[in-house]
């Protein structure tokens, strides 16, 4: 039982590695399907912008609201801008955007590709001489890796606005102090960390969504299983990668 489970895990990791490597290599040889990439960027980027903005706004607002009493205990309410800005930039902005986009788009990728697999559309594509990895996976991977950092910036910006709204209206912190504080605290290492994370998270969620979609078996039930696996695995891996990147950045920029 344990042996077969371990074998199955090793087999899956091997399959995933080979398949993502192929998807990346497809970028460096023709044909590259740029039109499909733009369509995916529109679906993933523009399609997720509103939900990401709203999430960012309320996240910033609740951060300010909840941390008020904590900071007041140290007489540090004036540092609200710093607290909200840093938390959003290096941690909650990338992670929550990653998880929201995983929920919205990794699931879409898995179910879309899974449906194509079980109805033999992927085999049909291969039989017509078109590489499904090149046509279906690479555009989704590239589009997600380009749009997720932009979506994270949207979440960060709206988070600052949300935090600012509570800080200014409820806590009576002057807006220029809130913004100056938030802006001045962030150094280059924080900006780099805040931008590396979404790129890594994008790779994880897109490759995961496509991987589970492309290995779907067993009809409608199989599609639903792949969708769940894609969302659960990519969410857990995003949190794990977040921990690793944070650890590395602390090591590099103590």
């Amino acid at each position: 039982m344990i042996e077969s489970t371990l074998k199955s895990v090793v087999w899956s990791v091997q399959e995933y590695t080979i398949y993502t490597w192929r998807a990346v290599l497809c970028l460096f040889s023709p044909p590259v399907y740029w039109t499909d990439t733009l369509v995916q960027a529109d679906t993933i980027g523009a399609g997720s912008a509103l939900i990401v903005a709203l999430t960012g706004f309320f996240l910033g607002a609740v951060l300010a609201l909840e941390s008020d009493s904590l900071l007041a205990g140290f007489g540090a309410t004036g540092y609200m801008g710093r607290f909200v800005g840093m938390t959003l930039l290096i941690e909650l902005g990338p992670v929550l955007t990653g998880i929201i986009v995983a929920g919205r788009n990794a699931s879409t990728m898995a179910s879309e590709l899974g449906s194509m697999v079980v109805t033999e559309q992927v085999d049909a594509m291969s039989s017509l001489g078109v590489d499904p990895v090149r046509k279906l996976v690479t555009p989704r991977l590239v589009a997600t890796m380009v749009t997720l950092p932009l979506l994270t910036l949207v979440a960060d910006a709206f988070g600052l606005v949300g935090g600012g709204w509570i800080s200014i209206v409820r806590l009576n912190i002057p807006w220029h102090k809130y913004l100056t504080d938030a802006y001045a605290t962030a150094g280059w290492p924080d900006v780099i960390e805040g931008l590396i994370k979404p790129v890594v998270f994008a790779f994880i969620l897109a490759s995961d969504g496509c991987f589970y979609g492309m290995r779907t078996t067993g009809g409608a039930e199989g599609v639903s299983r792949s969708t769940i696996q894609a969302v659960v695995t990519s969410s857990v891996l995003i949190l794990f990668a977040d921990f690793l990147i944070s650890r590395i950045m602390i090591q590099l920029f103590p």
């Binding site: 033999e120 559309q121 049909a124 594509m125 039989s127 017509l128 001489g129 590489d131």
Partner: protein, 280 residues
């Protein structure tokens, strides 16, 4: 001892008349983490030959077609397609080879987000053929399957039989060197099945493209063997009594093994109890 270990070294035989077969399976064995799905499988498809693959459901007929296209890899054995050793080719090398063949899938496998025009023209669009030429060739292909009116429709608007006919048009549009039909009449009513078989026959008798047709419907197989497409009258007509199409022959699978390879006459007179039971 594994099922594969007794097999002789895989190699396709040299043709006696110098004409290489379009497809050649030699000692092919495949399993999916369990017992063999296909074992010790050897057969050829000659130029202009139509091979009808019979067998009950779940016996590995669709797997055989996917092996021929390189969509699956055998655990052992040799598969040659259009002179290329499929088992030795990389995935990237296989795409141009597959583009020279056509395949009609069991459930049509049309791209449901694309129109009938874009489905049929899929290969031409990828090859960046000009739009005017695409439209003309798509209309020709749809005219062949008598569905020109569906040009702007989507797969969701078509009946099961119409989807199969569009799938046939998609497979034929680049005049492939081999066509594989995976149960093209499965799940269809008798009238629609006859229409599909007539199209398969039309393709066989007009273009002379070699093909493998998988089916478990004996009546379809016999009709293909005992009729020809008359281009003069525009439909199929029976061959004279006692005559059969010499280029249409039969293969039969049971439990992953080839149990019959021969003509209709040989099929009808075989002593194999399973074949007799299947035919009856």
């Amino acid at each position: 001892m594994s099922d594969a270990s007794f097999l002789s070294p895989a190699r396709c035989p040299e043709p006696s008349d110098g004409t290489p077969p379009v497809v050649c399976f030699s000692n092919v064995y495949i399993s999916f983490l369990g017992p063999a799905v296909l074992a010790d499988l050897s057969f050829t498809v000659a130029p202009q030959e139509t091979r009808i693959l019979l067998g009950p459901a779940g016996v590995g007929k669709s797997v055989l077609l996917k092996l021929a296209m390189g969509l699956l890899r055998p655990s052992h054995g040799s598969i040659r397609l259009l002179g290329n050793e499929v088992t030795a080719m990389t995935e990237e090398e296989l795409f141009p080879l597959r583009a020279r063949t056509g395949m009609v899938f069991q459930e049509s496998a049309l791209f449901d987000s694309l129109s009938v025009r874009d489905n049929v023209a899929y290969q031409l669009i990828q090859a960046r053929v000009p739009d005017e030429e695409i439209d003309q060739r798509v209309r020709e292909a749809l005219r062949f399957v008598e569905l020109e009116r569906t040009f702007d429709m989507f797969p969701g608007d078509l009946s099961g039989g119409m989807k199969r006919r569009v799938a046939i048009a998609r497979a034929l549009i680049r005049q492939p060197e081999l066509i594989l039909y995976d149960s093209p009449t499965g799940g269809l009513d008798p009238v629609t099945s006859t229409t599909i078989i007539e199209l398969v026959m039309k393709q066989r008798d007009v273009y002379r493209t070699p093909s493998i047709m998988v089916t478990h419907r004996v009546q379809d197989a016999f009709m293909l063997c005992t009729h020809r497409f008359d281009t003069g009258v525009g439909h199929m007509v029976p061959l004279p009594k006692g005559e059969t199409d010499p280029n249409t022959t039969f293969l039969m699978l049971d439990q992953g093994r080839m149990i019959f390879d021969g003509s209709l006459h040989e099929l009808l007179h075989t002593e194999d109890p399973f074949v007799r039971e299947f035919l009856e």
